[in-house]
Symmetry: C2
Subunit: 352 residues, 2 copies
DNA sequence: CTCACGCGGTAAACCGATTTACCACTATCG
DNA sequence: CGATAGTGGTAAATCGGTTTACCGCGTGAG
């Protein structure tokens, strides 16, 4: 184990002082070191493979170029890892490293994690949730932290969440544009209801209203948030009498949509000829794998992850916190599960 | 912004020197400080909320209690996040923090990441792949690093990988035990073939041999590693003449199994009455959601993640590197996709 | 009386960088 | 000729801990 090489080694080899080396390598040219000396220092540094000890530097400069990334859990919702990956990429792009801590949502662990990371002198915190939530931010979370996929119940933090309402609008509009007028919302049955559930309902109702469609309460059903629940809930609307039966389903998420596929099959309906389906989440390994591939709305996890880190590091303007969380658009991903409604009395009117 | 409190503040308040504070708080009782002084120091430290600056400490002690976790990518295979989560939990349990860097497999980025992390004076490295691979370990990866879900092509590193062969044995044995004798292996068609593909084939053949079943080459088919590919490949064996047709499918992964379900449906076969299916991966959001829920083999991601960190930190014995990678067992997850073969000439013999 | 030792604790070096204040020397200007 | 400015660079303080060497004092042994 050879001793690590330090700034003094460079200084000795280059025949200058450590101060000069530091000045040169950090481009502090206020002290205009002549080009030839700079050149020599740089060459020596490269030759002997010098890399500054960031501990020592951080101790002095009070900047560690590290970020604490505190999340509730990363495993429960596999697709949210995009958020972490994007955050890490953004950190690297800005010369920072990510300390990853997941607390399982335990407030005690959260406090501990924040304290540990502060002892590490991190430059800032990203506090991330793995699904869109309103959170009671830990009291010890320093001002300046950024919230990711979470809106603060209290306190002023920049925060970014998916635009669930807008995503729902895009999804339902797609169905209306295809000519559907009887569109069910297969919601999830969870208590307390996640924010996304209500927001997507708002988007759903907004589109119906704009399209002049009277919402039918019988078409808003709820089921467990898995394929079985989706199948059961979808079955309930598919068993309505023909004149009240929906020709399209807007599903709260792709898992429910997967259940809806099963229900459709069970009722002898083909997708998209007899029934159109739109999901939400664009879940890897499901949405594209279904038969037919599912039209769905993607959650902008990567964009949000990048946004949070960039705001934290000042690489992007901080939003004014008065206007609430920043809404990140949820793009519609068109695949093959939407078609015109089965022939009826009136042909579907296309908009635009 | 109040100045952070340091060891000197504690020293002043407690009426002792900084050295004493350090000695007490680190339990260096070689200098037996009397209990009352210790008590006083500790009380003051707690009162004013002292927490040591780990940068300064690390600078002096050359131990940072941080680990560099370098992975190729974390997003492509969502389920592998368990590995990261478990690694982080194990790190925390041992008083360490995790620096997370994913490099996308780019060797240039890998070098850069290792250098950056070394500049941070990390105590050690975990080098992780998100699927079982043989890797050419970067030359700059320090000795003592631990490989996770990867076996080194060269160099001596402790390494842990899933026991794909053993998992396949468990899966196929389950089918044999249910009475099946015509069992297909729906493999993936990828070049180069992943290690897991060959290892699972070995396990498959081993069970057949032990059970005295002559392997039928026509029952080893390959398809793209997605639902469509699985469906297509499964169809090929299901269309064989009745006397050569398999009564059970062992699928390389759950996505292929998902396709096999579709193929079975298309051929009018019910699972598990007409056809038994076993998958691999125990992929969240698929395996349990299929109808019927899929019997499959789980990858021990969490166990491997924990193992790697514990070995790195010395909380677990280092394996001798001569014996190759440590094989982590892949448990069989029994659900509802396996049953006895449809009635035939001879009833299934059950073993044990 | 002197020496050794235990007790309770501290001063100071050290880790490896950054940064400020200043120095020695030359050239230029009035 | 003395003052001033510019050039090229360094010494030393600093960040906040850890750790080693040592100190002053009292006491009991030889």
């Amino acid at each position: 184990m050879t001793r690590r090489i330090g700034i003094k080694d460079v200084a000795r080899e280059a025949g200058v002082s450590a101060a000069t080396v530091s000045l040169v390598l950090n481009d502090r040219s206020s002290h205009r070191i002549p080009a030839v000396t700079q050149e020599r220092v740089r060459r020596v540094a490269a030759e002997i493979g010098y890399a500054p000890n960031t501990l020592a530097r951080g101790l002095r400069t009070r900047q560690t170029r590290t970020i604490g990334f505190v999340s509730d859990r990363i495993a429960t919702t596999p697709y949210a890892v995009r958020m972490i990956e994007a955050a890490q990429d953004a950190a690297r792009a800005n010369g920072h490293l990510l300390f990853l801590v997941n607390t399982g949502g335990d407030p005690e662990l959260e406090r501990e994690a924040i304290a540990t990371l502060q002892a590490q002198q991190v430059d800032g915190f990203v506090y991330a949730c793995m699904w869109h939530r309103a959170v009671d931010v830990p009291a010890t979370l320093p001002a300046g932290s950024v919230l990711l996929d979470a809106r603060p119940l209290t306190g002023e933090f920049p925060s970014v969440v998916p635009d669930d309402r807008g995503g729902a609008v895009a999804a339902v509009q797609e169905l209306v544009d295809a000519g559907h007028t009887r569109i069910a919302y297969v919601d999830i049955d969870e208590h307390p209801a996640p924010l996304a559930s209500g927001l997507r309902l708002e988007g759903y109702l907004e589109v119906l209203e704009r399209a002049g469609i009277e919402p039918d309460p019988a078409l808003h059903v709820r089921g467990e948030s898995d394929a079985a629940g989706g199948r059961e809930a979808a079955s309930r609307v598919l068993e309505l009498p023909a004149d009240r039966r929906p020709t399209a389903l807007f599903c709260f998420n792709d898992r429910i949509a997967m259940g809806a596929y099963a229900a459709a099959r069970h009722h002898g309906m083909e997708i998209p000829t007899d029934l159109s389906v739109v999901g939400y989440d664009d879940q890897q390994l499901i949405a594209a794998e279904l038969d037919p591939p599912l039209t769905t709305v993607a959650l902008p996890h990567a964009e949000m992850g990048r946004w949070a880190v960039e705001v934290l590091l000042g690489a992007r303007d901080r939003p004014s916190t008065e206007e609430g969380p920043v809404l990140m658009p949820c793009p519609l991903i068109r695949r093959d599960s939407v078609g015109p409604p089965p022939t009826r009395q009136q042909p579907g009117r296309r908009r635009a």
